[in-house]
Symmetry: C2
């Protein structure tokens, strides 16, 4: 049995794992990730589907562990390339359905339930209830004649989840007893000692806050965390408040979760956002997106006084029920600062226990390792430092170092009941960048140009040249963008124009040379001139018309 991680290793995001047995393939998850800072203009990043496209006929199905973007976000892009059935529980399938509708894709979605056993060709798959920061999450046991494999998916250990459905520990213990050949386990929180607290903790903190609150409450959280949204609604009802919903993704998820029965509330407790004006502040909760400080989110628009229906005022209480995802720290504190300038009371992770993680900490991971007791182990879902730490944790629990495998995306692990062997760089697993309609068409050259343009802008030199007679017929014109504010620097631009003219004339005097010689000449001369005058290095683009 061969395992190829295509995404999710040495990164947190775009999880995707390929399992191959004989001439059959099954896939676990198909996520996306958000662009890194230096990926200028990129909308999302998806896994490299090349291997799957080339082996489309072998694929029996994709099984989704839960509905977060880093596990489902790549599906529309995959289905545009190949048609394969997608298996998942009801909430993730509902979220995928919304995505496919946006992309105008039909898709073959096949619902399963936690506890189900089903076959994908020779793969016997068992979906097992687990707990995470989104409802309806599962982990997977996959069995072929070659090996029995366990994949945790994303998980935390929550003994008291909001929906009353904890991890199926009995099943995990049974699997451990039967014998698991390979475990793949979530490494996101492996740096954190101790245990991840239950989602109930957030409910208790919020209960205290709601009980004391006198004015309007605006609370931002992840739309996908329907358990938390349910808790917020229950607290609203308990303390005599109606609730409204703001932000596109919150509206969509709430609608879906109500349809599917994940969200329940008494008739009359919900109110449309545009009908909240007449409700007294002490009787209203607005549930919104934007807990990560996303600049276009509903909460950011409120903080900027640009929200159509919600105008913040002194005395409002705004709760960010979240912790900044690494990389979002600045955005979150920007929003908090803007809110506090409005004399709004802001409650966020630095002042109250307003969020718990959805991922297992060290002691939780030890429990899973001890229940499953796998023969071989591959840490997944983490940056390299997380994978290394998770491997060390397994060693500390007594696993042999030789039985632990740290892979990179694109590597292969061949595993059976007796041995496991790692091969490097077997399938292509690059980051595929999506920019608008373009999938993979923005590469290093374009990104490097965008970076250079962002740092110093550009200067364009345009001239019409009579090649036969070696004269400049028109121009040079100097046009710049992102370099200096031209109106205030006319002298500099005029000096640059003179410099460019001299350079061109020097290069065509005494007979026309090829265009490249002239272009390189003016580019070099301008670069030196500009750097000397400004210590900046804009892109210099000579464009000549041959008259």
């Amino acid at each position: 049995m061969k395992i190829f991680p295509i995404g999710g290793l040495n990164e947190i995001g775009k999880n995707m794992t390929v399992l191959e047995y004989k001439d059959q393939i099954m896939v676990i998850d198909c996520g996306m990730s958000f662009p890194e800072d230096e990926m200028f203009g990129i909308d999302v990043v998806i896994p490299d589907f090349t291997y799957l496209i080339n082996n489309a006929k072998k694929i029996r199905g994709v099984v989704i562990t839960h509905g977060h973007e880093d596990h489902i976000g790549g599906i529309p892009y995959l289905l545009k390339k190949i048609n394969v059935p997608i298996y998942g529980t009801r909430l993730p399938l509902g979220l995928i359905r919304n995505k496919l509708d946006e992309h105008g894709i039909k898709g073959d979605l096949r619902p399963i339930n936690a506890g189900d056993k089903f076959r994908l060709g020779d793969f016997k798959v068992e979906a097992i209830r687990t707990t995470h920061s989104i409802a309806d999450s599962i982990c997977l046991c996959i069995e072929t004649p070659a090996a029995r494999i366990f994949h945790t998916g994303d998980f935390k250990i929550d003994y008291t989840p909001i929906d009353g459905e904890p991890i199926d520990f009995a099943k995990l213990a049974e699997l451990g007893r039967k014998g698991i050949d390979l475990m793949m386990a979530d490494s996101t929180n492996v740096m954190r000692p101790g245990f991840t607290p239950s989602e109930q903790v957030v409910g208790q903190t919020l209960d205290g806050i709601f009980r004391e609150a006198k004015n309007r409450i605006i609370i931002a959280t992840f739309s996908s965390n329907v358990h938390r949204v349910q808790k917020i609604i229950e607290l609203a009802v308990r303390y005599g408040r109606k609730f409204a919903v703001s932000g596109r993704s919150m509206e969509n998820v709430v609608k879906l979760a109500v349809e599917l029965g994940y969200l329940k509330f008494p008739a009359g407790s919900y109110v449309e956002l545009n009908k909240t004006r007449n409700i007294p502040d002490s009787e209203l909760v607005i549930i919104t997106t934007g807990s990560q400080g996303e600049p276009m989110s509903a909460l950011a628009r409120m903080a900027d006084d640009e929200h159509r229906n919600v105008k913040l005022k002194k005395g409002d209480m705004v709760i960010l029920s979240s912790t900044p995802v690494p990389g979002n720290e600045k955005e979150v504190s920007n929003v908090v600062n803007k809110l506090s300038e409005k004399e709004v009371e802001v409650i966020y992770n630095e002042v109250a226990d307003i969020h718990v993680s959805g991922h297992a900490c060290q002691e939780d991971l030890k429990l899973i390792h001890s229940l499953i007791r796998p023969k071989f182990f591959m840490p997944v879902h983490g940056e390299h430092r997380h994978l290394v730490r998770h491997a060390k944790l397994a060693e500390e629990l007594g696993m042999k170092k030789d039985n632990i495998f740290i892979l990179s995306n694109g590597d292969q692990l061949t595993v059976d009941k007796r041995k496991a062997i790692q091969f490097k760089n077997v399938v292509s697993a690059d980051d595929i960048l999506v920019d608008g309609l373009g999938v993979g068409d923005v590469g290093n050259v374009v990104l490097r140009d965008r970076k250079m343009l962002s740092e110093s802008g550009l200067i364009i030199i345009v001239a019409a040249i009579d090649r036969a007679n070696g004269v400049v017929v028109s121009g040079p014109e100097i046009v710049s963008r992102g370099f200096v504010y031209v109106k205030e620097h006319e002298e500099l631009i005029e000096a640059a124009r003179k410099k460019a003219l001299e350079s061109i004339e020097a290069n065509i005097r005494g007979g026309f040379k090829d265009w490249n010689t002239i272009k390189n000449g003016v580019r070099d001369d301008m670069r030196k001139f500009v750097f000397k005058s400004t210590r900046r290095s804009p892109i210099i683009m000579p464009i000549f018309l041959d008259i």
Copy 2:
């Protein structure tokens, strides 16, 4: 007495406070800050010196509390505009001297010592020993006939500093007894409960690590933290290792600190970095920059295998003795990941107590408030949320809300022994952006262009047009940068060229209109065409030559 904060409020960085009494001005600190993400291409941000330039004759001097960039980084830019004396203790003056030399400025630097009392015109200034993450830090008491003011500078409370010189508590208690009219106090760590641990804690952790280490140790920390560097050197000596130094700022600061007597070590314990090859791994420590993951730093170059003298190898131990400054989290974890891919043992803040903060936490702040017991209070050095929290902390200690003033940069507080009054927006206090030689010449227009260029690049349409006869003589040529990789999209570019030609011809057919009409026409047509084909919005720049 009038106080104008010019920088350091609603931000962490570029601290600068102006004090004015009658026709005299003194200034506390003159810092810089690093650009925010959206400040594309900006090198540093400095305070707005307009008020000082306009009132240069009144200025009696600038007093520096300590040598961090956010307190001294603006000085070269200030001295290029006006010549004023700079007062400071020896280490900050040494660091300022290095800066001024780089800028080719002489400057009038006047050394003071902690404990000194001196006069700047009518301002009676007393420099008081405090503790912070850089040696030779002071806080200030400033007295005029109108009011007595206390400014904490940046500080922590360290009862056991490495240099054996704790805060002068007796003096603070004496000031409290005499009566302080206004206190300005550091708010950086006001969100954190409890106490800030002593720098000694880091020494103890490092001692344990050094004692067990078998191989080469590479340790990154802030070059300005000469106490920590001293401790690292002492540990190296204790465990039979020589030390070398890597990274320009580390080399400069170590050189300066040795000259000034802040760093001491036995002869023979220092070794030049390019002479470390023959030293056994177990006998070497390399002290380096790059603890914040800075992409061009010595540590980042080691992680990228691009360091001239240090090639990392399996078994090396790399210690990042720091905590990521907010905004640098991603850079730090990138470096940690690269290091761990090299099978180097990496020790950083998530795995050991390898750093302590230089700023006072809540309980420390309560002590200072309780010692000084000011009549009026202005929280400084913090984002808005920090200032609000610090104001609340003062209230919790019993201060009247009306006696606490949250200002913004550019506001004025007028204070005397009886009352304090706040005025909004009295002096200009914008962020002044420095890009290369340009100070303040990159404004919103240029930044917006750089942002747009970074997101989708640009398309340039060049044509020579015979205006009199209404014909396109040459072109249009289509040139793009940062849009698509042209070699792979020749069809798209050719289609765009045809579209542009059609558009221009449609606009000059039947008689030449003005250039703007033609340009706007082709810009609109191209924008629609490009968006429809790619869902991207590059900047479209038509440039026409009149033939």
